[in-house]
């Protein structure tokens, strides 16, 4: 990045000299066009202000009010009462914990699996293109369909997974019925659905690697493993970081797979926070506490995302 920065500043410095042939001011104004820029931005700004910013402000407002179910509108200002109730709600804390466990396990699993498979798919042979194309398919299976199909596959009685395990003498396993295994199942389904995305991004990154470095490594007599550890992985760090951030942005929204596959159960074992808030708000009609929980989740997500962006940017520049 430092190289990019110096080159851009060089361009900036050479600008006036280059433009000295004609009238530099006029040229600058034409390229600047602040008015046009805002015109181009207007549709997006209007849409996002109305459909994103306004609802966020509204959510915060509801979170500080005593929601009136008779008028279906936020009522009196009650300060932090909703927040106090929410942070003492064991269900909410449990759902935060469940979400944390899911994220901490699922994201690394998907990243490692995705890059490993991308390396396998990178080997050149006739069927490579076909395999790559086929590998995209789970990515376009709607999460809610994925949840439903895996529920069948993991069914303790009729499921194919338990049947296959039974052939080698394991089981029967209560995939959805046992609290720990339900989380395993959720991560399994989510990884099935999302690993192909990582494979896609990783493949692009691997293909973009410079080949001369490998020739150098080979001529230095580096083994395959050494090359991977000391050449390939360091070069891929920015791609890994970018893939992680993108996957994180999707994973914090986890809702539909959990709803279709486990419904948050058994008990609260897979009750991710989005599902919990949804149930509170739209089944329990507790809009006040649902809004304070949503606000808390929003703040946590924004903070972590901010740091992840910084980290990813830092890694991108460093390597």
């Amino acid at each position: 990045m430092s190289a990019v920065r110096t080159s851009s500043s060089r361009v900036g410095a050479s600008g006036p000299t280059r433009g000295s042939g004609g009238p530099p001011r006029a040229r600058k104004v034409r390229l600047g066009e602040p008015g046009t820029a805002w015109l181009f931005l207007t549709p997006a700004i209007v849409l996002l202000a109305g459909m994103l910013l306004y609802p966020i402000i509204y959510t915060v407002w509801v979170s500080f009010s005593d929601f009136d179910l008779s008028t279906f509108q936020p009522g009196d200002w009650i300060g932090l009462k909703n927040y106090e109730a929410v942070i003492h709600d064991p269900g909410f804390l449990q759902s935060l914990k469940v979400t944390g466990i899911y994220l901490v396990i699922a994201l690394p699993v998907q990243l490692i699996l995705g890059f490993a498979i991308a390396f396998l798919l990178n080997v050149e042979w006739r069927g490579r293109g076909v395999l790559r194309a086929l590998f995209l398919i789970p990515m376009v299976v709607a999460p809610v369909v994925a949840g439903g199909v895996w529920r069948m596959l993991l069914d303790p009685l009729w499921g194919v997974v338990n049947y296959a395990l039974g052939l080698v003498g394991i089981g029967p396993i209560e995939w959805i019925g046992d609290p720990t295994l339900a989380m395993v199942s959720l991560i399994l389904i989510d990884s099935w659905r999302w690993t192909p995305f990582i494979v896609l991004v990783a493949s692009a990154g691997i293909m973009a690697l410079p080949s001369d470095v490998y020739e150098a490594a080979r001529s230095d007599g580096a083994s395959r493993w050494q090359t991977l550890r000391h050449v390939t992985l360091p070069l891929l760090v920015p791609v890994i970081a970018a893939a992680f951030v993108v996957r994180w942005l999707g994973a914090v929204k986890m809702f539909d797979i959990a709803l279709a596959a486990t419904k948050g159960g058994p008990g609260q074992a897979t009750d991710v926070v989005n599902l919990y808030i949804y149930e509170k708000g739209f089944r329990g009609l507790e809009f006040g506490s649902a809004s304070s929980m949503a606000t808390i989740v929003l703040i946590i997500t924004m903070i972590i995302t901010f740091f992840l962006f910084r980290l990813s940017r830092y890694l991108e520049n460093r390597w």
Binding site: T36, L41, L48, M51, F135, V297, M302
Partner: protein, 277 residues
């Protein structure tokens, strides 16, 4: 030495084929279940070859009104994708190519909105739509989807526009094109691959969205994911595997065909967006 590397190559290819089969299995399984009678679904050991039936595609479809819901989903997905593409591509262009004060802040804000969890938006959307009498209408769902599609389009298209040579529109503008003219006549046609892949990804995202649709629709505008969630919730009594699989196949099939047809663009667009974003 040669033979060991050849062995490694064979092992890698074998691993790749195995991984692909494992990842494809659930889809194949779903397709096979969708053509089976209940008695062939609920058996141990599983029957791979059994009597073919289209019952799952016919009998249940009327009852669950799958076809109208399919139409709803198409309308909502196409509508939200088109609106988001226009707004997002223009914004992405302004943020990469036009000099303006606060461009960095604007870009930061729009990109940060990608991280906003939809759950923080659903309560007001529901309340406002209810008050305005706009629940269960296409426009409400479309506008809700715009919240996650526009930031996505801006992000992907920014990476794409950055890769286009500046001389393109400079030449057009020297020839007397306005900035808008240059954008629509030169930039848009030149970015067609990027625009197409982004649009497809938008359609897929909208096609499979569940949370907003669940909250904002209840009858006329119900989308397929909502219908599927309903059928999946019903599997408790054990009967609906066939219909669920059949609806699943019908939702996946168009997207798979679509995605494979334009695979080249899709892969390039997504990969660029993720790595150059």
């Amino acid at each position: 030495m040669v033979s060991s590397s050849r062995l490694g190559r064979a092992a890698a290819i074998g691993g790749a084929i195995l991984a692909t089969l494992v990842f494809l299995f659930p889809v194949i399984y779903m397709a096979s279940i969708s053509f089976k009678l209940p008695r062939d679904i609920f058996t141990v050991p599983p029957r791979w070859f059994s009597e073919l039936t289209f019952d799952n595609y016919t009998s249940y479809f009327h009852q669950a009104r799958i076809l109208p819901r399919m139409v709803n989903t198409v309308i909502v997905a196409a509508g939200s994708a088109i609106i988001s593409m226009v707004a997002g591509a223009m914004a992405g262009y302004a943020l990469t190519r036009l000099r303006m004060r606060g461009a960095g802040v604007m870009a930061g804000l729009i990109l940060a909105s990608r991280a906003v969890p939809p759950i923080a938006l659903v309560v007001p959307m529901f309340l406002v739509a209810r008050r305005l009498g706009l629940t269960d209408q296409y426009i409400t769902v479309i506008l809700a989807y715009v919240t996650f599609l526009v930031p996505y389009v801006v992000w992907l298209m920014r990476a794409f526009f950055r890769g286009l040579p500046k001389e393109l529109e400079e030449a057009a503008m020297l020839d007397g094109c306005s900035r808008f003219g240059a954008f629509f006549r030169i930039i848009v046609p030149c970015s067609l691959p990027g625009l197409i892949s982004t649009m497809i990804y938008c359609i897929i995202l909208a096609w499979e969205e569940l949370l907003f649709a669940l909250i904002l629709t209840n009858d006329r505008a119900v989308t397929i994911p909502v219908a599927i969630a309903g059928i999946a919730a019903d599997t408790e009594n054990g009967g609906l595997w066939g219909p669920l699989a059949a609806v699943g196949v019908l939702t996946v099939l168009p997207v798979v065909i679509f995605a494979l047809a334009v695979q080249k663009y899709l892969v390039k667009g997504l990969a660029d967006g993720a790595t150059k974003g």
